[in-house]
């Protein structure tokens, strides 16, 4: 099985750690991620407009280029856009027709590629039990709050990763690396990131709420898969001291491949 990897722009700039530790860890677990050639920015947000094809074409190309394997994503935003685009290619005939007409692939693409988030690879390919066995430095005694944000799980019909209101994939991951998950009510609420440029106070309030709630419930740190969430929680919620990490950084640490 070929694991095509779609890093996305942010992982090449602001979120280099998410990418770097992700690759190293997967390698340590025996899975090689092959970066897709010629990938382009996913567009950043999945537009709801039915006639909006252009912004989704880069996702369609990445999907079509991965037909011989699985397309692995890591950034929550990229995952959301690519998975939703794939869902539309498979289920919305008009959208698929327009995208195919424009793209002129040798063979039309109709959503055949399987898209997996990095966490899904850990859960469904590696298996959390095997991951736990591969851990060299278990993060014993660490109380970690998983932060899902809004993009990783929703809309659940298209994303099909976990129960969007009561997810457990990140909590299971935390247990697998030897730490203790902390449940708190805001783990799947939006961080307000999309409001940051329009009204920073909204973003500050939403992020602050997440940070406060996690800290209050006894978390030492928060982990996330989303660069926008991490940025927003750390930069837009001043006065909240709890550290926020990419989950791949903790994974690399647990596997003993963090430099």
């Amino acid at each position: 099985m070929v694991y095509h990897y779609y890093p996305g722009c942010t992982l090449k700039t602001k979120a280099k750690d998410l990418d770097r530790y992700g690759r190293k860890s997967m390698e340590a677990l025996g899975i090689t991620l092959t970066e897709l050639e010629n990938w382009q920015c996913c567009g950043g947000a999945f537009t709801m407009a039915k006639d909006e094809i252009a912004t989704k074409l880069s996702s369609v190309r990445a999907l079509a280029d991965s037909r011989d394997g699985v397309l692995v994503t890591l950034c929550s935003a990229c995952h959301n856009v690519i998975k939703q685009t794939n869902y539309a290619m498979a289920n919305d005939a008009e959208f698929a027709m327009k995208a195919n007409n424009y793209s002129k692939f040798d063979v039309p693409y109709n959503g055949e590629t399987k898209v997996m988030h990095y966490l899904e690879v850990l859960r469904d390919v590696v298996g959390f039990d095997n991951l736990a066995k591969a851990v060299k430095n278990p993060l014993k005694g660490k109380k970690i709050a998983a932060y899902y944000g809004c993009l990783l799980l929703r809309p659940s019909k298209a994303l099909q990763m976990d129960n969007p209101e009561n997810p457990k994939i990140l909590e299971d991951f935390i247990r697998a690396i030897g730490a203790e998950p902390v449940l708190y009510p805001y783990r799947n609420e939006c961080c307000g990131g999309y409001m940051a440029t329009e009204d920073q106070s909204v973003a500050a309030k939403k992020s602050g709420q997440v940070m406060d709630s996690a800290a209050e419930m006894g978390a030492d740190m928060i982990i996330t898969a989303c660069p926008l969430c991490l940025y927003n929680l750390t930069k837009n919620a001043p006065g909240h001291q709890i550290p926020v990490y990419y989950f791949t950084e903790l994974l690399a640490e647990a596997l003993g491949v963090k430099d």
């Binding site: 129960n163 209101e165 009510p185 709630s213 209050e216 419930m217």
Partner: protein, 664 residues
């Protein structure tokens, strides 16, 4: 050649608006064998029926075709009419040009053409009809009620009062159902147990009523008047006839941490238990999942303390077979699981409870002795938020599309009771609509608002977030004031939607009774036969048919009982003469029909046949028991040699219908 009369019904405008009824009767009049054709506004009316009767007499009709509504609606009416003037009722065919034509089409020309085709098929069939004589079958004078909640209890008591034997099968160790868990009932606020438990006792004392508790129906065979039912009595490891219900064992059992399902897991019971003080039968039951003696043979304390010697660790499941004339389904409901509604953080906070859990928290026999305390820390809540429609009227796919009907009233009841008992408690109720039709219901709700000062807010709660200090932050919208609310609450109560019990679907399969997409049993007619299933001899009682409150459930339970009594007093039932028969000369004895027959109506016999060369030959041929055959036709399809045929629906009749439809 038959002399056939064709009668086309307008059904007011139901048919006539979409089908040119005049064209239908004119065209069908030209069909071979048709000697008379007409149309009329309401063929089922008395004058319509007279029209048919007069034509039979005047033209000497030998066959009748009615083009009208579904035969399920009026076939019996028309059969009776033709029989009254001496025509065999099975010489009548109904072409369904309403449900299968006018109601589902818009184009009048096409619908008319289709109605003519359907009429032609019926004429082709009636050409081959032969007079049939209905037989008779006896009725077993005993009824089975499946489910021992208030619905099943009321039905059973009413049947018993009429003098018939009735058995209740209840899967829990006690009868009583949900009503036994409820604290007070709306709109009178009388104590649920006080009005229910006397009925439970009546069931145990009435010698016509037999209770199979901790039991399940495992198979149903037979037909109306003559069902054979297997009932599995699960091993409770306590001899029912010896146990006195003293409860000594339930205080001595060392397994103390078994979640108590009667209190919805809000407290614990022992591994040997009696669900509640007024349980009927008042007999202890050992939970094999927790009992040390049953799991690893170590303990045996309950047997030591039992002075009656009732404990029997070797007890096995027991299957009982019993015959019944009628079966009543009263399988009830459960609140839905809330795992798709985690925005309310039900799994995260102990102080977010369902309404049924609140019933136990307010019940004097509940885990807190009737004092309303927070499950998390046992303190008094001072602000309580109720959320209505959690999973009801939900089109997102997470919940149920229907209204659960009882929640508006029980929430008003809870709110009122809390304000009455704890006036220092602020109560908020978030609603989409408040629906309170019913006698004294709206007055009750208004009392909650006006007299008790409950804050009713139109809008939904979007997020419930427990805090470390124990408070629960409730974020909601007030749709009338168009503002967002943030309430610091101590408890949140969720009015979870109700759904049919999970046992209902497999039971429906056993009973061949139909269900809707929500797993509620379908009634024979939504308006006119609301307590009967379309399957003869199966009756419906309570929430298994649709959401309803206690008064409605009891009304329906008594109605179902009346229908059962009506069936049981009948000496003999007229059987359907449309049963299978075997053309023995064509039968090759392969047993295919015997294997597919769901009713066990086919057996094989050795029979001597005289051959063309005047020798005799012993052959094995199929034989149908007409009293058991239900005319489903499975055997006629399975028979490879075409020997099996169905009276009234013979292979040749069906082929004639198909031919008539195919030739333009």
């Amino acid at each position: 050649m038959q002399k056939i009369g064709v009668f086309v019904c307008w059904c007011g405008s139901n048919i006539a608006a979409t089908v040119d009824v005049q064209a239908v009767s004119d065209t069908l009049a030209k069909e071979p064998g048709v000697v008379y054709a007409t149309n009329y506004q309401y063929m089922c009316s008395e004058s319509g029926q007279n029209l048919i009767k007069d034509a039979i007499k005047q033209y000497g009709l030998t066959g009748v075709v009615i083009c009208s509504c579904s035969p399920r609606m009026h076939e019996a009416t028309f059969r009776k009419a033709v029989a009254s003037v001496g025509l065999n009722p099975y010489m009548l065919e109904v072409a369904n040009i309403r449900e299968q034509c006018s109601w589902i089409h818009k184009d009048k020309a096409l619908a008319t053409e289709k109605a003519i085709t359907l009429g032609r098929a019926a004429i082709a069939k009636v050409q081959l009809n032969a007079p049939l004589q209905a037989g008779e079958s006896p009725v077993v004078k005993r009824a089975l009620v499946i489910g021992g909640g208030i619905a099943g209890i009321q039905t059973a008591l009413d049947i018993a009062e009429a003098g018939f034997e009735v058995d209740i099968v209840e899967k829990q160790p006690t009868i009583g159902g949900k009503m036994a868990q409820i604290d007070k009932t709306f709109p009178t606020l009388d104590c649920a147990a006080c009005i229910l438990t006397p009925k439970m006792v009546e069931c145990s004392q009435n010698d016509k009523v037999h209770i199979y508790s901790y039991s399940e129906v495992t198979s149903v065979k037979g037909f109306v008047g003559n069902f054979t039912v297997s009932i599995k009595k699960k091993a409770r490891y306590v001899a029912e006839n010896k146990c006195t219900g003293c409860g000594e064992c339930t205080t001595k059992c060392p397994m103390k941490n078994v979640p108590n399902e009667f209190n919805l897991g809000l407290d614990n019971r022992r591994a040997i238990y009696i669900p509640f003080a007024q349980a009927v039968p008042k007999v202890a039951t050992i939970d094999p999942n927790y009992c040390n003696m049953l799991k690893n043979g170590k303990c045996g304390l309950c047997a030591k303390v039992c002075t009656a010697g009732a404990i029997d660790y070797k007890q096995q499941d027991q299957v009982i077979e019993e015959r019944y004339g009628a079966i009543v389904v009263a399988t009830g409901y459960n609140p839905i699981k809330l795992d798709k509604f985690e925005e309310f953080d039900y799994s995260l906070s102990k102080d977010v409870v369902t309404s049924l859990e609140l019933e136990r928290l307010m019940n004097a026999a509940g885990p807190t002795g009737g004092t309303l305390l927070r499950p998390s820390d046992g303190t008094h809540p001072h602000t309580i938020v109720f959320v209505q429609c959690v999973g009801s009227r939900d089109t997102s796919g997470c919940g149920k599309p229907y209204c659960s009907k009882i929640c508006c009233m029980y929430t008003a009841k809870h709110a009122m009771l809390i304000r009455e008992k704890y006036p220092d408690t602020e109560v908020y109720v978030f609603y989409i609509d408040v629906r309170t039709p019913g006698k004294n219901f709206d007055e009750f709700y208004r009392r909650a608002v006006e007299q008790y000062g409950v804050h009713y807010i139109k809008g939904m709660v979007g997020k419930v977030a427990p805090r470390a200090d124990g408070k629960i932050m409730v974020q909601a919208s007030d749709l009338l004031a168009n503002e967002q609310l943030h309430i610091e609450a101590d408890m949140v109560v969720l009015a979870a939607a109700i759904e049919p019990d999970k046992s209902a679907r497999p039971l429906a399969t056993m009973l061949t009774a139909s269900m809707d997409t929500n797993d509620f049993f379908t009634e024979a007619h939504p308006k006119l036969r609301p307590v009967e299933s379309p399957t003869a001899g199966i009756f419906l009682s309570g929430v298994c048919q649709g959401p309803k409150d206690i008064p409605e459930t009891v009304s329906q339970a008594s109605a179902a009982a009346a229908k059962v009594i009506g069936l049981l007093v009948t000496a003999k039932l007229t059987t359907n003469p449309c049963v299978a028969h075997c053309n023995e000369l064509m039968c090759n004895g392969c047993s295919s029909c015997e294997r597919v027959c769901p009713y066990g109506a086919i057996t094989y016999v050795e029979k001597e046949f005289r051959m063309p060369d005047r020798t005799t030959q012993l052959r094995r041929v199929a034989s149908v028991n007409p009293a058991v055959c239900q005319g489903c036709g499975a055997c006629t399809v399975a028979c490879p040699s075409g020997a099996m045929d169905l009276n009234g629906f013979s292979n040749s009749q069906i082929m004639a219908e198909v031919d008539a439809i195919c030739q333009k």
